[in-house]
């Protein structure tokens, strides 16, 4: 296996802007959780979002995915303004995973991924009861695609396991497979390595590289600095809802204000708790 740094070297970021968030501001009453944050993500690019606890990372994420309607600013996906509804955001091509794993525990791994295909399939009540050739074709295609995705993330053999019985690292990967099943252009990962051991973290990084190489844009929220600086092409650091710095991992890593934000002036701004 090549070293992790080597995987990211020589990689060319695409030129198409996939995600464009401009001047996104989110206020809860008097509290400004996200203040005038702008961000661009290109195809084949991995962008990291870091910041101390309560910096507004997850709130910003929720603004992107339509769970919150931003007080100000717009979010565009491939040039189209996103409707502020999770359902429509997924259809438009943005998929996410959750900070605390939210799988459908009592469904098998395969079924979980098949649910992800929901918005790309169309059979309704009558066709489901009548079971015509079109329904059978669609059902078979859904199953096949779900199995493909499980193989893709390395869970091909676990297809029939109930999600709740799977090891922690596998559950994280299953969540990614489920998100990929919605055919996204942009994948948002909310702390994908939380609770993983070093080996699982490394596997996760390889998986994200693989997804990136297939042309998808990826945005990652993460607390593991080593992981984020190895993984990302570009890193944004949020502090108290505002963008502190944006740059290459090297630039962000060496910026004294980032270190200050993490170690020094940490204040108890816990707006993020409310969004979980």
């Amino acid at each position: 296996m090549s070293t992790l740094e080597a995987t990211n070297v020589g990689h060319q970021v695409g030129h198409k802007v996939v995600l464009e968030a401009s001047n996104v501001t989110m206020r809860f009453g008097g509290l400004t959780a996200v203040n005038d944050v702008s961000m661009q993500v290109h195809d084949g690019e991995i962008v990291g979002l870091i910041g101390p606890n309560g910096a507004g990372k997850t709130t910003f994420f929720n603004c992107l995915t339509g769970m919150y309607i931003p007080t100000e600013g717009t979010v565009k996906l491939s040039g189209e303004v996103l409707p502020p509804k999770p359902l429509k955001v997924v259809r438009a091509g943005m998929a996410r995973t959750f900070q605390n794993i939210r799988l459908f525990g009592n469904m098998t791994a395969l079924e979980n991924v098949m649910v992800g295909r929901y918005c790309r399939t169309s059979s309704m009540a009558l066709t489901s009861v009548l079971r015509g050739p079109k329904f059978k074709r669609e059902e078979a295609a859904t199953r096949e695609r779900a199995q493909e995705l499980l193989d893709y993330v390395g869970l091909g053999k676990s297809a029939e396991l109930l999600a709740r019985n799977m090891p922690y690292g596998d559950q994280r990967r299953l969540e990614i497979a489920r998100a990929l099943a919605t055919d996204p252009q942009l994948l948002l990962l909310d702390e994908p390595t939380a609770g993983m051991n070093p080996k699982e973290t490394e596997e996760c990084m390889h998986l994200i590289f693989k997804i990136r190489d297939s042309g998808l844009a990826v945005v990652v929220i993460e607390h593991d600095m080593r992981f984020i600086f190895q993984l990302c092409d570009r890193v944004l650091c949020l502090v108290r809802g505002a963008l502190l710095i944006e740059g290459t991992p090297g630039e962000v890593q060496s910026d004294p204000r980032v270190i200050e934000a993490y170690i020094g002036g940490s204040d108890d701004d816990d707006d993020e708790e409310g969004t979980k």
Binding site: L87, F104, M114, A125, V129, T182
Partner: protein, 563 residues
Amino acid sequence: MSKLTLSDDVRATHGSKAPMLAMVGGALVLLSGLLSWSADSTVLDDVSVRFYPIGAQIYIMVMGVTAIVLGVLLRKRPAWMSPGRGLRILGWATIAFVLLLALFAIGYETGALANLNEGLPVALVGGVLVLLAGMVTPEVTLDVRRWPKLSSSLEIVVIVVMMAFLLFAVAHALSLESWTFIAFLLMLVGVAGAVLGTGIGGYLGFVGANNRRPLLLAAFLVAFLFPFTQDGSDANMSIATQIIIFAATALGLNIVVGLAGLLDLGYIAFLGTGAYVGAMMSQSAFATIGWKPPFLVVMLIGSLVAATFGLIIGSPTLRVSGDYLAIVTLGFGEIFRLAMFNLDGNNGPKLTNGPNGIPGIPDLNFFGFDFGESHSIAGFELGRFANYYLLLLLLIAFVILVFSRLNDSRLGRGWVAIREDERAAEAMGVNVFGLKLLAFAVGAALAGIAGTIKAHVDTSVSPDQYIFLESAFLLAAVVLGGMGTVVGVLVGASILKLLPEKLREVNDYRLLAFGLLLVIMMRFRPEGLVASKRRQLEFHEDDEELVALTQQEHLLEAQAEAK
């Protein structure tokens, strides 16, 4: 029941005595059937005579034999069986059997416990020994990979035997009255529970999953043959029609509660909607709508009207969830009843005749086949209710088809996803609100169809048939039988409709007994009598053995399906 077992130390030291205990206990239970149970010869069809076993005495002898067989199996245990678990279930069932009959059938009915003779105490001792045998048996891990491999034709024989047994048991149970009926039911629960609990249940499930089509065919054949066992008598057929109507409605509710996870406490309103549509468009002199289309059209209209009501009730109420949804639907159920009560021409349009309802609904007539008359088919007499029973059988086949096909589709997966985690489902592109509405509409439509037939079976429709208690019973049938399953709901509906019919003596205590039953169920088997594997795991998450076993069974079934 995990908390009622003994420590591992005790089991290790006394485990070897278990087969002996089981066999002695079983022999005592067997013997008790030959003894006298009561000094009074009027209860339980005269159980006072020694060495002349009848009724309940024969049942307890079956339990004794089962215990002995399980004891023998303990000595030479197949790797996929756990006779110990079976013995525990059988022990509890025997004790419950003895206490219930001794206290109520003999003590209460004859007026004095002094009438109790030696038989039941002997059986009690036997039952305790059987239970002890089960408790001292060391816990074993089942190896389902060692299931016997039968050829496919033999598997079908297994299914046919199972179904034939079922038909016999149902026909026999229906021929019994009061306490003997209860005794039979307890015996059936004990013996079936014990036999299935040893691991045979899982195996039969596997065989069934391997032979879906033959199993379905056999089940419907059994149901179809049932009226021919009744000698033209309508007494049991009348109960059977009520059971099917109830079960069809409960299956509709199962989509809402079992699949989509929405608690609906006013569901009976949809059955009522169908029934009122059926009545208003019937040939009855009291029918309020002049248009009399053919019955098939009425059925369609009934289901459409019910589905529309489902949508109307659903769109505002589905914005709340959990407890709030339950309360709001409960309110809507009452609104329906009160609306039907008041649409009598004085307070609104004359549609329902108010509290009098619409009586005198004539029997159905399909192409000259009058459902009200007896017909003779191949020498068997089929009465009025048998006719309706056969029609309702078609209905429930349709309902089961709709339920299971929807369950196994994109929509079914969407529903289960909503039940599991609504926010995650939405974030994965599942149209949560639309699917919830659809669940309401489809469930209501199924109940509506059942309602239109119900109007003709009952010959009258009035508001007091659609009270909250009926909604509660429907929900209880779903919960008792097993949420999300078809067989479970059928079993639950049968039990809930059958018990009150067979226990006329204790009708005053019906609700009390029913409440007790639910409490006991929730304590010992919260996943329902016939549980889907998923729900079983949900309630016994800490049972690692069950998790591993389910996993293995699941894999085997998936392999068999893939073939």
